[in-house]
């Protein structure tokens, strides 16, 4: 057996003044064989990144290892002094960070970044610097012209490739990738993962891939460690995890993956999403106001949003560059009670469309109408009228709530501003809203501050706030992309239920085709500001016609597909 890294009983604790200590990693033991590609999966707060930082000795206070051993080639790296730690970064272990694209110095060229490393370690002769740089940069799939560029001149994906090349330049035996693709666009994500996979094969280093996305990990690694609350709950080969997961938690994670192309798509909380051809719209308007939300008194959406030949051109970012066309001649109608998915990779203009509809930005040409309101030409009072009817659910529940206000205050404001309710009446309405989004016991949740809530609970508060004005239209901008996989289904089910009960129409903006399949009837695929494909969601996803839609579909991580051939 050729152990490269042996972690025995490792514990890492976060300690800072005035706060109770947090045991982030709790007696973890595992072994890495040389040349293995291992995935480390867990949801946020599971301690996976802390573990990654600990095994490369990059952790910073307040994190502190408080027990156990990390044996790298038989030597405990916790004992290393600063200088020998620095020396062994060459030919030892390296890490590629989640924000690796921001880890480059903006005022130095890529070439200088390589030279810094060669200087610090002296492992490449000066005469070979150029050749080695070119070799490395080509290994990660960039051309040698990139060497002369500044980080700001490269895209996010290219910068992440550069930081992988920089890590490679030290010829490490062990590479730790900490969510290397999380901040990137879906299509770029897939390309980078392909590069990492082929590099690992050709260079033969041992790799650890840390990710929250079990799909991505299962597609690329041979063995998977599943972490939950600081402990490793499962350690098995990828095929085994997929076919025969032992731990409850792993099974729960796996249950949240499905193929958006399938005939029937099922997730926990969602069943029978087989065909929603046409019947969906009827269902939405037919069965409104059932259940607990009688307070709405049947007021369902009666105005459509009509977007007519809208274009949005932003002025060029620098002189000499051409103007940016974010939205190019897009027309569509969001009928009352309809739910429409707006799908595309980042930069496809989908968020710009949301801004145009909500009156935050004004289109360069074309018109946006909500009922009789011309959204592009609204005065101050009319904007208010628009927001009474068109509300937004934000992408990031962590920044969409003011950290200093209680849930009650946050919800009271729209109730007071739009409903005109005061005092106990307003409070009753707030509690009603909390009940609607499933935050019970309502009294307790009303008194909480955002930091006392989980991501999923926060997003429910954000949804409750959007509902406070009894809107006719909800614009949901990637409402689940920041949430852990296990929380997503709950929030999506809530959106779906509210839409059917309240009869609101919804514009669901996303890059995630699986969630689009679950909550929408119709879909529009955007590429470069243009609509490339539109139609019934199930039909489009099952029989995509446009090239771009097919590529987006292929980029959806799907463990079952990856191992389908091998099984």
């Amino acid at each position: 057996m050729n152990h490269i890294l042996e972690v025995k009983d490792l514990s890492v604790v976060y300690e800072s003044n005035g706060f109770t200590a947090l045991q982030a990693v709790d007696h973890v033991s595992f072994v890495l064989e040389a040349g293995e590609f291992v995935g480390l999966v867990g949801e946020s707060g599971s301690g996976k990144s802390t573990l990654g930082f600990a095994i490369t000795r990059l952790q910073k206070p307040p994190a502190r290892t408080n027990g156990g051993q990390i044996l790298f080639r038989g030597k405990d790296i916790r004992e290393l002094d600063v200088e020998s730690l620095r020396q062994q970064r060459q030919g030892g272990f390296a890490m590629v960070l989640q924000s690796g694209m921001n880890a480059l110095n903006p005022v130095r060229t890529i070439r200088n970044h390589f030279i810094d490393i060669f200087r610090a370690h002296g492992h490449v002769e000066k005469s070979r610097w150029d050749a080695r740089q070119i070799e490395l940069i080509e290994k990660v799939g960039l051309s040698k012209e990139a060497l002369a560029r500044f980080p700001g001149e490269l895209s996010g994906g290219m910068r992440q490739r550069v930081s992988i090349a920089l890590a490679l330049s030290l010829e490490p035996q062990l590479m730790v990738f900490d969510e290397p693709t999380t901040a990137l666009d879906v299509l770029v994500q897939q390309a980078i993962m392909t590069t990492i996979k082929s590099l690992q094969k050709s260079e033969g280093f041992t790799a650890v891939l840390i990710s929250h996305d079990l799909g991505v990990v299962l597609e690329s690694t041979q063995r998977v460690l599943v972490m939950h609350e600081g402990r490793i709950v499962e350690d098995a080969s990828s095929a085994e995890i997929l076919q025969n997961p032992q731990d409850e938690y792993t099974r729960m994670l796996l249950s949240h993956y499905a193929d958006p192309r399938a005939e029937v798509v099922e997730l926990p909380g969602f069943t029978e999403r087989a065909s929603r051809d046409g019947a969906g719209a009827g269902k939405a308007s037919g069965t409104t106001a059932a259940g607990t939300t009688a307070s709405r008194e049947g007021r369902s959406a009666d105005s459509a949003i009509v977007v007519d030949q809208v274009s949005m051109v932003y002025p060029p970012p620098r002189r000499g560059e051409s103007a940016i066309t974010a939205v190019d001649d897009v027309s569509f109608t969001l009928e009352p009670g309809e739910s429409l998915a707006l799908v595309g990779a980042s930069g496809s203009g989908k968020s710009t469309i949301a801004k145009l509809i909500t009156g935050i930005e004004k289109p360069t040409s074309g018109t946006v109408k909500f009922g009789s309101l011309d959204v592009a030409r609204l005065g101050r009072g009319q904007i208010r009228e628009l927001h009474r009817n068109v509300q937004m659910i934000f992408q990031d529940p962590y920044s969409a709530l003011n950290p200093l206000h209680t849930v009650e205050y946050t919800l009271t404001r729209p109730v007071v501003n739009f409903g005109g309710l005061r005092g106990p009446q307003a409070r009753r309405r707030v509690l009603e809203l909390l009940e609607t989004v499933g935050l019970a016991p309502v009294e307790q949740f009303a008194a909480k501050l955002p930091h006392q809530l989980s991501g999923g609970q926060r997003q429910r508060v954000v949804i409750a706030r959007a509902l406070a004005s009894n809107p006719q239209v909800l614009i949901a901008d990637e409402p689940v992309s920041m949430l852990d996989v296990s929380l997503r289904a709950g929030v999506l089910a809530l959106l779906e239920e509210l839409r059917e009960q309240w009869g609101v129409s919804m514009l669901y903006i996303t890059h995630d085709l699986l969630s689009a399949r679950l909550v929408t009837e119709n879909i529009m695929v955007l590429n470069g500001g243009r609509v490339v494909e539109r139609g019934n969601t199930a039909q489009v996803l099952q029989h995509p016609e446009d090239d771009y839609t097919i590529r987006l579909l292929d980029a959806v991580p799907n463990p079952a597909r990856a191992w389908g051939a091998a099984v």
Binding site: G18, P61, Q391, M392, E435, G438
Partner: protein
């Protein structure tokens, strides 16, 4: 799993925790945990104690004269007497009242001006912002001390009110600029956009959503402003631009300079008030180190392993 969660019988007590209070206690605890700000708090507490209980602590009245003139330190007069025959120790003790109160009042007022201007400047866009920008830049480029002297000379003998006014007029611009920058970063956060979607008027967004998120920067700005107010007050008094009949550290220095205290060997007349001013300013600066630790938690964590 959505609306059907059974409502557990929660304790129906009013569950509102006193969070304002909790916030202040945590703030105080963080300040106390930092040795620098702890030292600053102790020094400041001493000065405030002396200022409040000056009539009890001082052996004689503030301007009680008739003692031997220019006397050296003795058992009766620990720090000696002035050229007018007043007890220096008593003057120092009474003088702390002026320095502490002027420092805090002027610091508070200029912080308030800075908040109002800085926040609205950061929130609005377009022509209005340009106008404010012009005015603030005007105040920033005019050198502070000469402006102070000119204004003070113009408002002849207005006493303490005049001094406070001069300090506020010359002291708010920098704070406004810092707060504007912070407002601009906060205004692009989602919760501010969300407040607009909730139909909130602009002033409410600025003062209820944005302002509470800058508490530590404002606290830091306040201590900074108070420090420079104390120094400016003493400076103006020393130059004889204030009301020279009141007893403050600045006027002690002014009279000591007038009677050539250094030449007559009474260095303590200059040294004692100078040290008091320096210590008071130092205490506020030290407290600011602690305030820094609140706004930047990284400073709280100690050195790397």
């Amino acid at each position: 799993m959505t609306t059907t969660q059974n409502v557990t019988k929660s304790t129906e007590k009013a569950m509102r925790p006193p969070r304002r209070l909790a916030f202040i206690t945590r703030l105080a605890a963080t300040l106390w945990a930092n040795w620098k700000s702890r030292l600053g708090l102790i020094i400041l507490a001493c000065f405030i104690f002396v200022a409040i209980f000056a009539p009890l602590l001082a052996p004689y009245g503030a301007s009680q004269d008739g003692f031997e003139r220019n006397a050296d330190a003795s058992a009766a007069h620990w720090f000696g007497t002035t050229a007018a025959g007043e007890d220096v120790l008593s003057q120092l003790i009474y003088g702390s009242q002026i320095s502490v109160s002027v420092g805090f009042i002027a610091g508070l007022l200029s912080t308030i001006v800075a908040i109002v201007i800085g926040l609205s400047w950061g929130y609005i866009r377009g022509f209005g912002a340009d106008v404010i920008n012009f005015i603030v830049n005007l105040f920033l480029v005019i050198p502070g001390l000469p402006l102070m002297i000119v204004i003070a000379a113009y408002l002849q003998n207005g006493g303490l009110v005049m001094i406070v006014a001069v300090i506020v007029i010359t002291g708010w611009a920098w704070g406004a600029r810092v707060l504007r920058a912070q407002t601009q970063t906060l205004r692009s956060r989602d919760f501010v956009t969300a407040a607009r979607f909730s139909g909130e008027p602009a002033w409410r967004i600025v003062f209820k959503e944005i302002l509470p998120n800058m508490t530590s920067i404002i606290a830091g700005g306040f201590f900074g402003a108070a420090t420079s107010a104390i120094l400016a007050e003493a400076g103006l008094e020393f130059l004889g631009l204030g009301d020279s009949s009141i007893v403050s550290w600045g006027t002690i220095l002014y009279w000591a300079q007038n009677s050539n205290a250094l030449l007559t060997g009474q260095w303590i007349l200059l040294f004692a008030p100078g040290l008091c001013i320096a210590l008071l300013a130092l205490s506020l600066t030290l407290i600011n180190f602690g305030v820094d630790a609140i706004s930047n938690p990284r400073l709280r964590e100690g050195k790397s392993r």
